[in-house]
Symmetry: D2
């Protein structure tokens, strides 16, 4: 019989950029008895989570919650708004942008994939100028949507979505703006309405700290209007019936009740801490993590400091070092999971997740595990990253303390 308690003494450190560690509060909430999804309590629960999630996306408009994991929400965004053969402009920022593009191809859309050459685009954010230029050239408005990734989980680069919106507006182009903020939401600031996003896509297992299993589409009135006129053949993903049913807190089909329990708890945790405090915490940990990488003398995957991700940090290996061998050693000897390099950069970097239910000491444990693992793997380090990170966190604690006094 397989045991589900896989790990040896002490808590496993799950420092991948999602699924992030699920707080005990959420695990407990998930264990509430499943209720009748047509009964009176369910409506109260439904209305609460539907209302609360809007605050996270910073939108006044509806957010659709799917009883399906995040990849489904990508498909939902495309299939509700695009008709067969429609042209979409996507931007290559990394592995997940590439997978979304592959999905659009598979759904029969015509995709254009802008990007910088080689792996250069995997170290930088979306280039709004390139988008603006392309849209200006599209005088016939063949392009129906611009699709970008907010926080590239495969690289640790957070793009400037407001700038993408400005680029579209500057080109005077009517294309929809669709943004994958699967790993960005509730870690980095995100403003669906203010940034003029038409469809924002997210998932449960990152900043929201849930297990995977539910996902989101935040939708603008323009996107809803588009969905009513066209779209791909779809049923499960179709917004219209869900939006109608959601008005009273229900779903047209069976929702994922127990994950909604966890979502309610997550919303309460995040809103009690305050979104700004949550973002500041992520920035603090990310800052300390980068200081460590720099002290080690290793390269950070992201080369644009203003695009550094507060969610994860990509750590590049010196030539000749297999990043996955380092990860495996750390996993086996220090009971910690790190993220693998994906796609084009497989084996050349690993990713440190510092999102969700983490604090200063969690990060210090993580960096100590990395530092010891790198040394045991024979990687020559320039200095102690652990020390550099402690210097940062100590200063930040001093500031918080001064403020509290």
């Amino acid at each position: 019989m397989l045991r589900l308690d896989f790990h040896p003494a002490g808590r496993h450190f799950l420092q991948i950029p999602g699924p992030s560690p699920v707080p005990d509060r959420l695990l407990r909430a998930m264990s509430y008895p499943t209720i009748d999804h047509r009964g009176p309590e369910f409506g109260a629960l439904g209305l609460e989570v539907l209302q609360g999630i809007k605050k996270i996306f910073k939108t006044q408009h509806p957010v659709i919650i799917y009883p399906a994991s995040g990849t489904g929400a990508w498909e939902a965004a495309l299939s509700n708004t695009m008709s067969p053969g429609d042209r979409v402009l996507m931007f290559e920022t990394g592995h997940f942008a590439s997978l979304w593009k592959k999905m659009a191809d598979g759904l029969g859309l015509q995709t254009e994939f802008l990007g910088l050459p080689g792996t250069e685009g995997w170290r930088r954010g979306v280039q709004p100028r390139m988008i603006e230029d392309r849209l200006r050239a599209d005088t016939g408005h063949q392009i129906k949507a611009v699709c970008v990734v907010h926080n590239e989980t495969s690289t640790g680069v957070t793009s400037d979505i407001a700038a993408v919106r400005r680029a579209i507006d500057a080109a005077g182009h009517p294309a929809l703006l669709m943004v994958d903020t699967i790993s960005g939401l509730a870690c980095a600031d995100y403003r669906h309405d203010e940034w003029g996003v038409d469809v924002s896509i997210s998932g449960s297992q990152k900043g929201l700290m849930l297990p995977p299993g539910i996902s989101f589409n935040a939708v603008s009135p323009k996107a809803i209007a588009r969905s009513e006129q066209g779209g791909l053949p779809r049923s499960f993903w179709r917004w219209s019936e869900i939006l109608e049913s959601n008005k009273t807190g229900y779903w047209p089909y069976t929702p994922s009740t127990n994950l909604l329990y966890a979502l309610r708890e997550s919303l309460e945790m995040i809103l009690a801490e305050g979104l700004d405090a949550v973002f500041a915490r992520h920035q603090r940990l990310a800052h300390a993590c980068r200081a460590a990488v720099q002290a080690w003398g290793l390269e950070i995957q992201c080369v644009e400091p203003e695009r550094y991700s507060p969610v994860l940090t990509g750590v590049m290996m010196p030539d000749g070092v297999d990043a996955d061998a380092v990860r495996q050693l750390i996993y086996e000897r220090f009971d910690m999971s790190l993220g693998t390099g994906l796609g084009k950069i497989k084996g050349r970097m690993f990713r440190i997740g510092h999102l969700g239910d983490c604090n200063d000491l969690t990060l210090m444990a993580t960096l100590a595990g990395c530092e010891m693992g790198l040394k045991l793997s024979g990687v020559a380090l320039a200095g102690s990253g652990v020390q550099a990170a402690m210097d940062i966190l100590q200063d930040k604690a001093r500031e918080r303390r001064a403020k509290a006094a």
Copy 2:
């Protein structure tokens, strides 16, 4: 702040035909920490559940597990095997058969909906003869699939799937056979391979006793072959990549890890009790429940005794009695949820679920609640259903006791 512990003193009786009560064992399993879905432990978990679920469907072929609730598995079955405009023959057995038909229409398929007139078809199982006749007439083999519901959750009628297969074979027709066994699986006997089903669709929140959130497609080699040649635009539902990834116990995108923990526990519980014992328990409770309804002098929704459902019993109200008012009274006074009448029979019947994690005394509590609620609602009862059910259960206990001795 909304509290998730909705109910007053004592345990709420959730006697709807799904979601069924989730055993504590499963709730506990769901609370295991989420692990890296790319890490080594996940593969072991994945292989175990993928192997185990085959035993439940009684198939040697792959079963696909979606991180999405049951309605998605309906769409997956259609979108992998049917091409735009394909014709499918469906059979009206009740509300869920009707919803599936509506989905097929919405996906752009040409549907034919066989059925008996009026609400007659909602009281009987699938009529294999009607299917055979229609297929014989389809000499050009325009019909690409026959779609039927194994256990109609809206009525309490369990159709004879083997007979449907015989009808298709008798007509010498190559159409695929697709079966919704969302509420039948793990309650009533089901034999994917032996009955020649091409796609069996199921969900987690019925006989498997999980919360809603994951769903299944059991697929025949013929169905897989079909999916490789055509299908609707799809990505999340596409079988091919999942089948490939599943070989090592992984998924191409993020699976619903914590519900897979619950599935593993459920498989262990069911296989330890033994499928035959599980079916016998469901039959015993259903038998006792029907004896109660008959003693009350009320009509059972299903009029074909050989099609009685082991999962739920539909109870028809006398003229002038609003079934939903009875349900509400029982809910408020006796803290029990019963299933509402759906679609054509809304307000005219209610449904008693006796599936999953139930035993003799759970059923007796349920029937006592119904009997008291019916009386308080002013429904004239011919006799005591509770007494009739006790007579059955007592006899059955005597038999088990004799066997054990």
Copy 3:
């Protein structure tokens, strides 16, 4: 490996008079991470439970919470107030009164055990007149304490504590009044201050619905004064240091932190429902249970109707029927635990618990299990107890409904 999930499909019905079924809310609360019992949060928790538990005992004076199960609280009451060789007057109401007397003997006290002859005293409550007479005769005030049991868990008889107080006062006797309300508290009305009780003893696993493991002494100023002057050799049970430490919400030694979590949750549940509503619910279920026993034509252990227990009902077997064989059959065939006959009445009766986290349908399940089990055991029943109980509960529901309208 032993599995802790002992029971087959469906929930086990734990209908013994304690431990009573622990609500999921309490089990979840118990799973909060253990905190530092010297840290700041602990004080907040300590103060909350120490304040809340007073409301349950209806006292303005301190209640001591021991990290030990109920038997310890018996010893604590005696060892804090009685000096070696002190004389105590106890009253035989059943098995637990007898065990407490045995403990007092073992601790070196001189006990007098008043009571009615044979098993007569096990069917009636405490006789205040007998106590009064004995105290009047004790002109030298050799008797230092009167010890009685509020609700005899072994018989289902609830004594009149106010009458005992009146008897002591009528005799003008200075003896302390010590009352075991282990199974009475939070089920039946209990008034520590109003009734002039000096030490009230209780436990966690009955009306408070916790698992066993913590226990209580509610103490009057007079009892505290006595404890400061004498007592038996003791340390763990000594009130003085605990009372001192409790002022700030702490304990002098390690408390049972996780059970205190459950206590906090229990207090919140009970006080939210309201003590009067809790008592009324217990009375309603007890009333229906007795109606069932009477309809079966069986004798209720308690022969004084005004002393019927709201906590449990003792059911006497006809001559020649082994009550434990009936219990075992019900356990094996209907997955329900009933209480065994204890001491003098072993094998001649069984006990039905209807306390704590129970509702109408839980009771109906219980009575159905009893009725079927009795019949299968060959006990001739006069009529249907299940029917009689439903008649009661139906009427009560009608009344509540009328009130709510």
Copy 4:
């Protein structure tokens, strides 16, 4: 309403020397439904834990499990074996030895408290020679027991119990040997039988990783014989009835069922890892922790290297630094609990717990929190303790890796 989820984002680091962090596995086990402690399953559970706990104490003789926290087990040891006025020889190793001595006084025993002058004894282990000398002088064998603490939780010193036994034997003295191994058991090697201990006392919330609430007496035949002839007035603590009842896996009064569930899980975890591996892990973490303290240039409380505790490390503050102010800063800024200085050394040191469910990275987080907190408190550090600890752990990991290869 008080919330029980006290801590902000991320997991609180509970690094006090007990209660130690309770593994999720144990918390889940504690949430199993409470069962009838007189029913058949309970006996199976009881026998399993009673058998398993013997392996932890390394004894063939009975171990008594009390439904009471650790202080109770101290009293149980004394009250079962000592008669009023008996003389006991105790040894001052720190705060807990002093508290036990105070308890013995309070119980009316005549205590002699050996020890080194001032706080010297709080930095060293038990001195067997002093015990031997005293026993040799007791030619009349007035001393009935020698009582020592195995691992002093207040100081981080682990005494040599085998040497104490040799001292008693060398003196040819018949006194019982009673050992408090509350914080030592399951962290440091302990051998009840081999070392000739008569009563070993332990608790649940340290090496066994349970919440507090149950405690232990491992008893030799000689101790049992003594308890049958004398003892203090006692009932709850009395061994004889418990030993009798335990033969079939039951208790004479209500046991702490849900904590026994956790104990069973704990035994399974510990015995699966292997006691030697558990001890080695504790030694490794302790070693790294001391290396950190030494690198900081701070004094370790324990001055005898061969007595260093594998459970906790006492860290002494330079003159003028308030250890509790440092602790509070670390608590507030880094969400970590450390142990306070107790008794004579209050404010002059703090204690780092590294016991139970801890691993290398937990320790690194702990040390990073200490290092940052010390610096923020203005304590001048000689060097980086974090670096020193990483050097140790890295070497140990290299060794384990080499062994595995």
